[in-house]
């Protein structure tokens, strides 16, 4: 699974993207966030305000109950502030 991080999710985690092999029990975005938060304090900090973290799967905005699959591109980021 390809993970992309933007804005303060990126600066907290300390990298812009990574390829991960999530355990089998990771079936939804929620599962993914739970698992990522166990990978280290920087992940826990980045995902602390869990309900603020927005998620896109393959460039589409999704809710936290959306399924994730091993070949998905999943992006985690704060609410957008462009324009």
């Amino acid at each position: 699974m390809k993970l992309l991080y933007f804005a303060w999710v990126r600066t907290n985690i300390g990298k812009a993207e990574e390829e991960v092999a999530a355990p089998d029990h990771v079936q939804t975005v929620e599962d993914l966030l739970d698992w990522l938060a166990t990978l280290g304090p920087q992940y826990a900090a980045a995902l602390d305000r869990r309900n603020v973290v927005k998620v896109a799967v393959n460039h589409e905005y999704v809710e936290h109950d959306h399924p994730v699959r091993p070949d998905d591109e999943v992006a985690l980021f704060p609410p957008v502030t462009g324009g």
């Binding site: 980021f77 609410p79 462009g82």
Partner: protein, 149 residues
């Protein structure tokens, strides 16, 4: 026409290419967003715009398509810059043309309101106190909400 670019753009040239040779156009509406020298937490010296290449183009394409569904538009231009920008620099341009004035004005306001809440851009401000990610504003959500059907 949608462009995501680091470089500045020439408003006059962009609008000319949107209108030239099309005499069905009665109204041209445009909004340009610029970097201000102050923000909620005081003076800022610059900001850096980050975006999600690939997703940005898709979301902006959908926003344009939605505007074209709602209003009879002759043309749409959306240009959004990324990278480091200083106060006074242009960030974004949205422009629409229509035979009808109201369609041009309303669709232009719609495009910038939706872009602000849906296009994956993030702003990092540089001020005297260091750098800070801009927080999303509730007023922007409310502005976008107006256009819900």
């Amino acid at each position: 026409m949608i462009r995501i670019q680091r470089e500045d753009f020439d408003i006059g040239a962009e609008l000319a290419s949107l209108t030239d040779g099309n005499a069905r156009i009665g109204g041209l509406a445009m909004f340009v967003g610029l970097v201000r020298d102050r923000a909620s937490q005081g003076q800022i010296s610059a900001m850096t715009l980050e975006h999600y290449p690939g997703m940005t183009e898709r979301r902006l394409g959908e926003i344009e398509a939605e505007a074209r569904r709602r209003w009879p538009l002759e043309g749409v231009t959306i240009i959004h810059r990324y990278g480091r920008l200083e106060p006074g620099e242009r960030i974004v341009l949205v422009a629409t043309t229509s035979s009808h004035r109201q369609a041009a004005l309303d669709s232009c306001a719609f495009l910038i309101d939706w872009l602000k809440t849906k296009a994956p851009f993030w702003k990092l401000e540089e001020g005297a106190a260091g750098v800070q990610w801009v927080e999303a504003r509730e007023s922007d959500d409310q502005a976008a909400e107006r256009w819900k059907k």
